[in-house]
């Protein structure tokens, strides 16, 4: 194979210079002539009938533009999967942050004051706030049965296994909501023109999701809706579906006022009103043989979707498919269910259901190990999926993955065995010395997998298209709707095109995502960009080369100078030089959407993470002292970016495990500020040590598999396993929930033990 010249090299981030000089323009950095500032009046109650909207007569309403549901030219919904979420509440509200009325004014300070001068009178209806209440159906708050979606994965005969089992191990595990907490708040600017229609610029992940939503809402044809992504300051899934709402609001105000309208949320509005990670509850019942083999199991995975369906069905799908972990189950029955409550809809957040169900699986593996009398290492080793075996959806593992080897290397890198023995001894010594406020230490591991790309037939339905263009100046431009929000989309896609064409990296540019300019390469989600879109970019780039060769303008090998001349001559003779590539399902891929069986993902990334944790028994706070993240993600296209993805994901995972707690009251987040919702700072994190194992599994462009979401899955279970290891379970103390805050550790150690 030819030596690659750009793939695998850490070339400079395409938009990096603008980012380090402050020149990068985010949505709040942009203004337009005659621009107004928009704001949103929201429900104050979780559920009820709107009786009256009144405007404070003492307030000066001159020059305000107001918009209600009655002003919507098209359908009052945020079109996504279903159309159940209104853009503006019309008559009733189903959660405490539901938008009811929009205001705009030229003075941004005045418009915020105006929000408080509107009062909404509502007749309250009984509301529900927990999955258990939703399942009890004491109130029906959505559809006929409060259920957005259910899935059933059934493999083998589970009924048969209980009688054969030497051990039956049960457990229930829960995870809390988590705020994405991108440092740039959500924002949009919309402008309307009768001829051109509506244009929005904004902070967003998926230009064509916003495009689809605006067409329905504004009743405009595709060509009269234009969506442009501004530089986006972090997203993590949090800018997947909610930007359509904000874009809709800005568009309605712009259409009514005839002036450009900017809506930028402040931190509290962003935290309380927009989406968060779905809270979850997973129940495991597992049949195990005396030598520690999984014989079969039942897994019930339930997530709280909030008030509207939005993305819950797909989050549930991914969580359900990942619920069995990287293990071989001869038989299993997995039930997934997404239920409605009167909280703002929960949405996408890195991992998308998998961090929830994998937390449960990896905690449960430690519990199984204990029941059988094996070590956490050995129980995993005995059950790892091997090439040729099938997953819970009966997908055959075709790649040459060796999870045992991955585990061994992770143990070695973390010095797991020696430390575990030493900590056990030291913890015991401290107890014997009866020291006040001892610090106990522990080691925990988590093994997991993450499927890259859309689930099942998702990529076939998306049918993504990309274009690559040869320009007259000899440079090449990549045209995709895939967005950059920190992960490195711009850089990696340019690397792939440069590699395919044998050009210097500097000669390849990427177009700003603008639905008037770029084809629909699908949403920037699901760890699909490098693998799926990257492959298409490579094909489209090779198309340019083939066109130039077929035209006799270059030979099989050429210099950048010759390529440049060829482009110029081709364009002079034929006009445009563009090559398109469309996704096609590979041969022999089988997926049954009804039975949830078959090839769930084109490829999986695999990982073993090890956490070293210290629990201070005077403050009951736990801290991560060392963290080893080892993964197999196929070919690493850009070592610096890849390491950054893993370290950043692990940091968010540490936050999910130990720091980030959403405090709810009547469906509303009570701590919607950075001062009381705590994400890890530079002083809180351990050294996160990132390692890659390349096992020669070739997928996607130049062998890359998905990477973005994987690191979110492992930290929480590894850390909680380590805390359990540190504290022990002599008193029956169990840690089965995240976030695990100091007060929870205190309660478990001091209060539960006394009972």
């Amino acid at each position: 194979m030819k030596e690659e010249h750009i793939i695998g090299k850490s070339v400079p981030r395409k938009e990096g210079r603008d980012k380090v000089t402050g020149a990068a323009r985010y949505i709040d950095d942009m203004t337009m002539p005659r621009m107004l500032y928009g704001a949103t009046v929201r429900s104050q109650i979780p559920r009820g009938i709107i009786k009256k909207i009144s405007f404070d007569p003492q307030f000066d309403w001159a020059e305000f533009v107001t918009v209600t549901a009655q002003d919507i030219p098209g359908k009052n919904c945020i079109a996504l999967i279903g159309d159940d979420q209104p853009c503006l509440a019309d008559g009733k509200v189903n959660h405490p942050e539901e938008p009811i009325l929009l205001l705009a004014h030229a003075d941004p300070h005045l418009v915020r004051k105006a929000v408080d001068a509107v009062s909404i009178e509502c007749e309250p209806l009984p509301a529900i706030f927990t999955m258990e209440d939703s399942e009890r159906r004491s109130q029906i708050v959505w559809g006929d049965d409060n259920t957005f979606k259910t899935f059933l994965i059934a493999k083998g005969d589970v009924e048969d296994v209980w009688a054969k089992a030497d051990y039956i191990v049960e457990g229930e595990y829960t995870t809390g909501a988590q705020e994405q907490l991108y440092v740039e708040n959500n924002g949009m600017i919309a402008a309307f023109d009768r001829e051109q229609g509506i244009t929005v610029w904004g902070s967003l992940q998926c230009p064509y999701y916003v495009h689809k939503a605006l067409m329905a809402l504004c009743n405009l044809p595709a060509e009269k809706v234009r969506v442009v992504q501004a530089e986006t300051g972090g997203a993590f899934g949090g800018k997947e579906d909610y930007p359509s709402m904000i874009a809709g609001h800005a568009a309605l105000l712009a259409m009514k006022s005839g002036r450009p309208v900017k809506i930028v949320y402040d931190r509290m509005e962003d935290m309380t009103a927009t989406t968060k990670r779905h809270p979850s509850r997973t129940r495991h019942r597992t049949a195990v043989s005396k030598d520690g083999k999984l014989l079969g199991g039942e897994i019930d995975f339930t997530i709280d979707g909030g008030a509207y369906a939005t993305l819950s069905s797909v989050v549930l799908s991914r969580g359900t498919i990942h619920a069995g972990g990287p293990y071989y189950w001869p038989s299993v029955r997995i039930r997934g269910k997404a239920v409605a409550t009167n909280a703002p809809p929960h949405g996408a957040f890195r991992g998308f259901g998998a961090p929830q169900s994998l937390f449960a699986m990896e905690r449960h593996m430690d519990r199984i190990a204990q029941a059988v009398g094996l070590s956490p290492v050995e129980i995993r080793r005995r059950n790892f999926l091997k090439p040729g075996q099938t997953t819970t959806t009966e997908q055959t593992i075709r790649e040459e993955i060796d999870l045992g080897k991955l585990l061994d290397r992770a143990l070695e890198l973390s010095d797991y065995t020696a430390k575990k023995t030493r900590f056990a001894q030291e913890n015991e010594n401290q107890e014997n010395e009866n020291r006040v406020g001892p610090v106990k230490k522990g080691m925990g591991i988590a093994a997991f997998l993450h499927g890259a790309g859309f689930t099942g037939s998702g990529e076939r339905y998306l049918a993504s298209v990309v274009a690559v263009e040869g320009c007259a100046d000899g440079t090449v431009r990549v045209l995709v709707s895939s967005t950059e929000f920190g992960q490195g989309t711009n850089t990696v896609l340019c690397q792939i095109a440069a590699e395919a064409l044998g050009l210097p990296y500097e000669d390849v540019r990427i177009a700003q995502p603008d639905t008037n300019q770029v084809p629909n390469s699908g949403p920037t989600v699901a760890s699909r960009t490098a693998m799926v879109v990257g492959s298409l970019v490579r094909s489209a780039a090779l198309g340019i080369k083939q066109t130039l060769i077929a035209s006799g303008l270059i030979g099989d090998s050429y210099s950048p100078g010759e390529f440049h001349t060829a482009c110029r001559e081709y364009i002079a003779a034929h006009g445009e030089l563009r090559s398109f590539a469309r996704y096609e399902t590979p041969e022999g891929v089988f997926w049954d959407d009804q039975k949830y069986r078959g090839e769930a993902y084109a490829s999986f990334a695999w990982a073993v993470y090890v956490a070293e944790v210290a629990v201070d028994l005077s403050t009951y706070s736990a801290s991560v002292e060392d963290f080893v993240a080892l993964q197999e993600v196929g070919r690493v296209l850009h070592p610096v970016l890849a390491k950054g993805q893993i370290a950043g994901g692990v940091a968010q995972g540490i936050g999910f495990a130990l720091y980030e707690k959403v405090v709810w009251q009547n469906g509303r987040m009570q701590n919607g500020q950075m001062t009381n919702y705590i994400m890890p700072t530079s002083a809180d994190l351990p050294s996160i040590r990132v390692f890659f194992e390349e096992m020669g599994n070739v997928h996607g462009a130049y062998g890359a598999k998905g990477i973005g979401e994987l690191p979110m899955d492992g930290p929480a279970p590894a850390i909680v396993n380590a805390i359990q290891d540190a504290i022990g379970d002599a008193l029956g103390t169990r840690f089965d929930s995240v976030p695990l805050m100091p007060e929870d550790i205190f309660a478990a150690v001091c209060l539960d033990g006394e009972q």
């Binding site: 020149a23 440092v183 300051g233 931190r267 970016l641 370290a647 994901g649 950075m674 994190l685």
Partner: protein, 185 residues
């Protein structure tokens, strides 16, 4: 709100008067602020309690300082004011009277990247980029005080600047690298 269209036109004329009056009143409430920003003397008219962040972004067009939280928690609006690191969202504009302010736009003092900017780019210290201007100013403040910081020094110095993308590891590497290069130079 059951006005006829005639009422509305009359209201509008009346409203315009009111608005003009209000604007005049607002203008009178402003005062003059002179300061030096990135080496350049500037004079702007501001409300006394206006945030320095807004003055920089709106009046001077320096949008490198970002608003992440508006309450001094995230550090995205960090700037240097008379050599001190401050959250510009917490500084009333008039406190900056006569001050020498450096923002990310003026850090390099020319078209070339300065050493910190260059290493942030190389080491992966910037991902989404929204915290980057504040983070680089914070790092620059540290290196001015401590040219040879330990990892603990770096961790502590940057603890007021939140980054959600990187897990900070590559930012630490960038700062350490910048310090090494300065020592070598």
């Amino acid at each position: 709100m059951s006005h006829t269209s005639e009422d509305r036109d009359q209201d509008r004329g009346h409203d315009c008067e009111k608005v003009r009056g209000r604007d005049r009143e607002k203008e009178r409430a402003k005062c003059e602020l002179s300061l030096t920003v990135n080496g350049k003397p500037e004079t702007v008219r501001v409300f006394p309690m206006e945030r320095l962040l807004d003055v920089l972004r709106r009046e001077l067009g320096l949008t490198g300082a970002k608003e992440g939280c508006g309450e001094g928690e995230c550090g995205s609006c960090s700037i240097l004011m008379d050599g001190k690191l401050v959250n510009s969202c917490l500084v009333p504009a008039l406190h900056a009277a006569g001050a020498k302010v450096i923002t990310i736009e003026g850090l390099a003092g020319g078209p070339q990247l300065n050493a910190l900017q260059a290493v942030f780019l190389e080491c992966g210290g910037a991902q989404c980029g929204i915290c980057t201007p504040g983070m680089i100013l914070s790092a620059s403040h540290l290196l001015a005080k401590k040219p040879d910081p330990t990892l603990e020094d770096i961790r502590e110095a940057l603890a007021g600047n939140l980054c959600r993308c990187t897990g900070y590891i590559q930012i630490f590497e960038a700062v350490a690298q910048a310090a090494r290069r300065r020592a070598g130079a």
